[in-house]
Amino acid sequence: MGFPDRIERTVELAHPPAKVWAALTTAEGLGTWFGNEAAIDLRPGGLARMSWTGGPTAQMRVERVEEPRVFGFTWQIYGLPEGDPRRTYVEFTLEPAGAGTRLTVVESGFAQLPEDVHGKAFDGNTEGWAKELGELAGYLDAA
């Protein structure tokens, strides 16, 4: 099977879990090493945002907060149109390793299928435009 559903990386960091946790879960941390600016409401269901100067903004939804071991959030699949509802789940796991931390990041959900791949909702773009243009024509005819 060639379609990767999950991506996994592990790094050893020479800093204790509490420090790594702060870098991952605070606006100061995220806005320094990951994005250029960040905001986060750190609780399950809370929203977070990261932006890159002159670049994109990522909207995240916090899913798991188990200090200082597990931090998980979902975000939009990179490269899909903004209104697309599909999201991947990113989970950071922190394990003490000597004086430092073993950090694992898993991003999963790349191979998910939209509910209705053969259905109407999916042809949204084409049909949406045809419909909008039809409505515009109707509006102009009536005027």
């Binding site: 990386r9 042809d123 773009n125 084409t126």
Partner: protein
């Protein structure tokens, strides 16, 4: 039966591997629904070849034939399979290595600022003293 992502992605990439089919899909995406005859007028491809490609694209679900009289059938592009293929590309394009390296640097730099002596910061401080 739920469609298989792998199979859908394969159809999209097989369709896109051919330059004529790419040209046909590009023409439909930019200009909207068109008949085989319209497309033959716009592209350097014979009508017969276009009809053959459209049949293949339609079988793969990448275009849909609108109901109509035989020669007047218009084809329109379907985005659903493309969006599945985009997910495959998104997985390939996802780069965790750079941010994780940046995290490592961030933590190390932070530790340096907090007063933990490091050979590198001493050298920097010495250099600053000399240039000042």
């Amino acid at each position: 039966m739920p469609p298989d992502v792998e199979a859908l992605a394969e159809q999209v990439f097989a369709a896109l591997a051919d330059p004529s089919r790419r040209a046909i899909l590009a023409a439909l995406a930019s200009g909207g629904p068109a008949t085989a005859t319209d497309l033959a007028g716009r592209l350097p491809i014979t009508r017969q070849a276009i009809a053959k490609h459209l049949a293949l694209l339609s079988e793969a679900g990448l275009v849909t034939a609108e109901p109509g009289e035989r020669r007047r059938v218009r084809y329109r592009p379907r985005s659903a399979p493309m969006q599945v293929a985009q997910q495959f590309l998104a997985a390939l394009a996802r780069d965790w290595d750079s941010p994780l390296n940046a995290l490592k640097d961030h933590l190390d730099r932070d530790a340096g600022e907090a007063g933990i002596p490091s050979a590198e910061s001493e050298v920097m401080a010495e250099r600053e003293r000399r240039t000042a």
